[in-house]
Each structure stands twice: as C-alpha cells, then as structure tokens.
C-alpha cells in the first residue's frame, strides 16, 4: 500500500510484534531503530523477531522491509493482508508453511497472537502451519503462553467481536522448550477462516463470577503420571473454590529432530521434553482467565509444585479483576481499536492497566493515529477498584474487504 506519509519512528525492541501488526493494519510505514543496540553480544533483531518479519511477509502482499547491517534498524512498509487466497501465498493446498529456526526461544504463541489479530482483516482465509525445529507449543520461560491457552482463552474472545466461524488451532505435535530453552520441533496449524469488514463494538463491563475451570495438562516425552500429579495438585487448590473443575490430560511422545553424527549421519535426537499445565477459568459472563506453568528446562521440579503453582497463578490472574486477563488485553484492545467508529468500553483490573507493556501499547496506538483511551473508575455493582477503558474505533477495518 503506497503511503506518502512519513514513516512512524519507534525505538527499542519492546512491543515489536504489535508495532508491526498495527503498522500493517493501519497501513503506515514504521521505522524502528536502536533494537538492542546497547547489547554487545547480540545486537539487533533476535531470531524470533526475524522469523516474525518473515511470517508477516508471507501473509501480506507487497510488504517491504529493510534491515540494517547490524539488525538494529528496521524499516517496514506494510502491504495488503492477503491471507491464503487460491494461488496466492502458501503451497498447493493453500497453507503457508512457516518454519521456525532451532535457536528460536519464544513459544509459538508469540507468533499466533499477533497473527490472529491480523487474520480477521485479511482478504482470504488464513491457514498457517508452523513447523521446524523451533516450534515450542508449551508455555516458555520467556513468558509466552501455551498453544492450549491460546486456543482456549484467547481465540474464544474473538466471538465477542463477531468473529467465530471456522477458527481452528490444531496441535499436530507437542513440544516443550528444548535444551537451553531453544526450539522443540512441535507442529501447529492455524486456520482462521472468518474475515470481517469491521469488528463489532464491544461493551464488556461485567466480569461476573468464575463458574468453571478447564485445563490441559501435557507431558511430552515423559511419563503421563506427571499429568495426573499436576492435575491432582491443581484440583486440590481449585476444587474447594470452583467445583466444576476439569483438567484434561494429554500425553505425547517427544518430537525427533535429525542430529547427524560423524559415524551415524541418520541419527535423530529427542528434543522438547517436559510437562506443563494450562488452566482456563471462565466467568458467568464469558470472560476468560488463563494461567500457564511448565517444568523448567533444567528439570528438578515436582509435578505437584507445577500444578499448585499454576493453580495459584490462575487465582492471581482472577484476583487482578476486570473482564480481561493481562495476556488477552493487547488482543482485546487491538480489536476494539480496529472496530467501527464508535466508543467501546471494557473494564479491566487496576493491575492490568498499570502494566508497563499496556502503557506502551497505548502509546504506540496513539502514535498510529488511534484516539487516546479514556480511563475512568468503574462505578456500580461491579466496581472492585477496576478501571473502565473507553476505546474509539478507527473505522478503517479491513482494507482488502472494502475493495472486494
């Protein structure tokens, strides 16, 4: 998309993906500089950021990007979000195959969340398959949520914006972080088949009460009894509070990646072993809160500890209040900004809004031309010291749909 406007200038590597996503949605060129420029050993873009740029290139048509020699400066000129129309992007079956390198330390949810934010505004349905030795489906020590949480706690939120059809997130092969936190050779397929012109205006003011808790305990390449132990510990904490608590167990074998040796070039090794727990609490008004804990890469933590920790983490997220969990806030607020030119309101906990990354998100959005957020204290019966954010939609929505 040709824009005569000067590029928006950002500094630092924080909020990198959302800056690029909003640049693509708003059709503005961005210039991001000083990306880890003060880091003497690893300056510039990290492998996962490069990988995200590649992904963005794959789902859009006509994107241009320039990366400086050291990788500390990126200029990104977005194209149209085309998705996977027949013959455009992807292989013969219309699936974009995105391979993540082995040195990628972020979970696949790092890519999924911004991609899902783009997908409703693409021209054609989006089908992306994440493969390669760097796909970690579990939560990661770097702070990403697990794919299960994305599917059960983030994607259902799109329903509130009128996006619900034909959305699938298929976990073909599970993987925990590999040795030294690197990739784990999992496989995930995202199908996002509901494209819209404009997101519906959202008014979410009533958090309700948590009525049920669901979860997935996963063990990759380790004994399934770990799952049972995690589940028991988590239920020990949660059952007295919410009787409707189910945690499902998923045991899978570890993915094999080729590891050629001198005398055995066909050798393979198992990577991404471990276990973890993902919990989702649903409130009576459909608000979702999630928690994720995994076994540390170095091992040495009992499944009971993981289960208990995850349960407490879930309770903490619920205790933060509001209608949105911190992990889902960028998605919700991003979609509200992309909505019709109307004021949407959402109630969030004070701790959720008083977060560094949220403030950064707000600043970035204003820089992209979105009107500033209106903040006021929540009133009425659902108060609890929450804050109501009023977001005015930009009314631009899906450029590809407008033309078509």
């Amino acid at each position: 998309m040709a824009t005569s406007q000067p590029p928006l200038r950002f500094t630092g590597h924080h909020n990198f993906v959302y800056r690029l996503v909003f640049a693509t949605l708003a059709g503005r060129t961005v210039h991001i500089s000083q990306i880890r420029s003060s880091n003497p050993t690893n300056p510039g873009l990290a492998p996962h950021e490069i990988s995200f740029l590649r992904l963005l290139d794959a789902v859009t048509n006509g994107s241009q990007m320039e990366i400086s020699y050291t990788g500390t400066i990126v200029v990104f000129k977005p194209g149209l979000i085309t998705g996977c129309a027949a013959g455009v992007g992807g292989n013969s079956s219309g699936v974009i195959n995105h391979e993540l390198p082995a040195n990628c330390t972020r979970g696949v949810s790092y890519f999924l969340l911004p991609l899902c934010l783009l997908a409703p505004f693409s021209k054609a349905p989006l089908r992306v398959q994440f493969t390669g030795p760097g796909v970690i489906t579990s939560a990661t020590p770097t702070g990403d949520m697990s794919v299960d949480s994305v599917r059960t706690a983030i994607l259902p939120l799109y329903n509130q914006f009128g996006i619900f059809n034909n959305i699938e997130l298929r976990i073909l092969r599970r993987s925990n972080p590999g040795p030294r936190g690197g990739g784990g050779a999992g496989e995930v397929q995202l199908v996002f088949g509901h494209q819209i012109r404009l997101a519906k205006t959202l008014h979410l003011m009533n958090p309700g009460r948590v009525k049920r808790i669901r979860g997935v305990a996963y063990a990759v390449g380790v004994s399934g009894s770990n799952n049972a132990r995690m589940i028991e510990a988590a239920r020990g904490v949660l059952n007295p509070l919410v009787p409707d608590t189910y945690v499902f167990s998923d045991v899978s074998s570890a993915p094999l990646v080729p590891a050629p040796e001198k005398n055995n070039p066909a050798a393979k090794k198992k990577v991404g072993l471990g276990f973890g727990l993902s919990l989702v609490a649903e409130s009576s008004t459909g608000c979702l809160y999630s928690a994720d804990v995994i076994s540390p890469v170095s091992g040495g933590q009992a499944p009971e500890d993981i289960g208990k920790q995850c349960a407490y983490q879930l309770l903490e997220v619920v205790a933060k209040g509001g209608c949105v969990a911190p992990a889902a806030a960028p998605t919700m607020l991003g979609l509200m900004t992309m909505g019709s030119e109307d004021v949407g309101r959402i109630q969030v906990g004070r701790d959720v809004i008083a977060d560094e990354s949220m403030i950064q998100l707000a600043r970035d959005l204003t820089k992209f031309g979105a009107p500033g957020w209106g903040l006021r204290d929540a009133a009425g019966e659902n108060e609890n010291g929450d804050v109501v954010i009023s977001v005015v939609g930009r009314g631009i929505g899906n450029v590809g749909r407008k033309v078509a």
Binding site: R151, P156, Q189, R212, R214, E232, G236, N239, Y246, F248
Partner: protein
C-alpha cells in the same frame, strides 16, 4: 529421615504439623544454633529469636497426647510415655483427600468438546443431559400436542390420497402390493417424474394396445358423463407426436437414401434438386 520425607508427599492436610515437629530443635541443635546466631549478631543486626515457634510445637504435641489419653479411657493401655514420644512421633496420615473424593469419571463428551482443534465449547453441558430435561419441562404440553397434531394431519392426508388402494375399511394402512403402490404415489407427489412401476420396454403392439385401451376408457367415461349431464374436467390438449421426418444421424447424405452401398434418389429428391 529420607524415607519419612517420601511418605510426607501422601500426607496432605496435616503435613504442616509434622514438618513443625521435625523442625523442633533438640538441645544439641540449639547450642550450635546459638553459636551461629551470636556470630551473626556480632557481624550484622540482632536476630529475632524464634522461641514462640518452638513453644507452639511443644504445646501441640502435648495436646495430641492428651487427646489420645482421653479417647483411650477404659482400656488397659496407660498412655504414651515421654521417651517413646521423642523417638517416634505420631504421624497423622489423612487419606481423605478432597480432590480424590471429588474425582469424577471424566466425561468423554466434555473431553471431546474441549480437546478439539476447534474453539472449545465451554457450554457443552448445556447441550447434553443437563439441558434436555429442563427443556422438556419448559415446553411440556404445547410441544407434545403440536407433534401429535402434525402426526395426525399427515395420516389424514395420506388416507385421503391412498384410500382407493385400500381393500377393506378395517385396516387404514395399505399392505403388500398396495403399500408399494402407495409409496409410489407418495414419490410422485414429492416430484418423481414417472411411476416406479412404469414398464419401459415392452412389445410395441402391446404398448399400443394399452394406449388404445386407456383412450377408449377415457372416451367412454366422457360420453357417459355427457349423457348424464356431468361436467368433467377439460381434456388436456393432445400433443401430436410429429410423425414427420425423424432426426437423422450426422454424416448422412443430405439428399436421398444411402442403402446397400448406393445412394438412392426418389422422384421427389430429383425434383428438389431441380433435375
């Protein structure tokens, strides 16, 4: 102690107390702890002495002892002696775990609904057993009577349409050959082009005979009706099957007839060709 630790994992509700008991320092322990404490206080700030904790632990032990003695009144056992207590402390194992009690057989449907690639339906229990009885209670009589009415209506319609097939008034549903005929009628009413039992291939003379018979019957009916002054439906206009020239195959001669390797031209053909 190592073995004991391992067993502690199965102790759930009272584990804190047993830990306290383990932590209770003996006289030897406190002496070297004192040395460390003095050294630490000399270097840094004075520490708070955790005396209260010890006292509480001892108290609780005594309480336990008392309780046991109370319960054993009447038996010839005369309580636990103090020395025994120090050696093997009473370990309370509580097998009544709350989560174990609540362990329900996992609903397969729930698992299926949650563990698919699709977005999890959090509301699956509304579609299954829980919802259905409530629905029945709500809709109750209206729905039942509606369904009954529909059923009766359909039966009446069918009776009217197929009554000519019925042999006796006793059974209202056609049976045997008549059932098949009735089915055929229903198919035709639903839009079938021809009857299922329409014979496609038969000798031409036979077909002509049947046709002639049908025509004769129809004519007779019309004549009788006219004589009796009954007005019948208008006769459908007869589609005159054009007995003219049949469509010939492709590649044939444009004029004449090609038979036996020769092109035969009739007088008409010659006239047409202008010869």
């Amino acid at each position: 102690m190592i073995g004991k630790r391992k067993r502690d994992t199965s102790v759930v509700s009272r584990s804190i107390k047993t830990k306290d008991q383990e932590d209770t320092p003996t006289a030897v322990d406190s002496s070297y702890q004192d040395v460390f404490r003095k050294f630490f206080e000399a270097e840094f700030e004075p520490l708070e002495v955790p005396g209260g904790k010890i006292a509480r632990a001892e108290e609780s032990e005594e309480d336990d002892e008392d309780g046991l003695e109370d319960s054993e009144i009447g038996s010839d056992w005369d309580g636990i002696s103090a020395e025994e207590d120090e050696v093997n402390t009473v370990e309370v194992v509580d097998h009544a775990d709350s989560s174990a009690n609540a362990e329900l057989p996992l609903d397969k449907k729930a698992r299926k609904a949650f563990m698919t690639a699709k977005l999890p339906s959090f509301s699956w229990d509304q579609t299954t057993a829980k919802r259905s009885p409530t629905k029945d209670e709500d809709g109750d009589e209206d729905k039942v009577s509606d369904a009954n009415n529909l059923k009766n209506d359909l039966a009446l319609q069918r009776l009217l349409q197929e009554s000519h097939l019925l042999e006796s008034g006793s059974d209202l549903a056609p049976t045997g050959k008549n059932r098949l005929k009735a089915l055929d009628l229903r198919m035709q009413s639903l839009g079938a082009k021809t009857s299922l039992y329409h014979q496609q291939n038969m000798p031409s003379s036979q077909r002509r005979g049947i046709k002639a018979k049908a025509e004769k019957k129809e004519d007779k009916r019309r004549v009788e009706a006219r004589e009796n002054g009954i007005i019948l439906e208008k006769q459908a206009p007869k589609t005159k099957s054009t007995q003219g020239r049949r469509e010939r195959g492709v590649g044939g001669p444009s004029i004449g007839k090609f038979t036996g390797g020769t092109l035969n031209l009739s007088k008409q053909d010659l006239w047409k060709a202008g010869l």
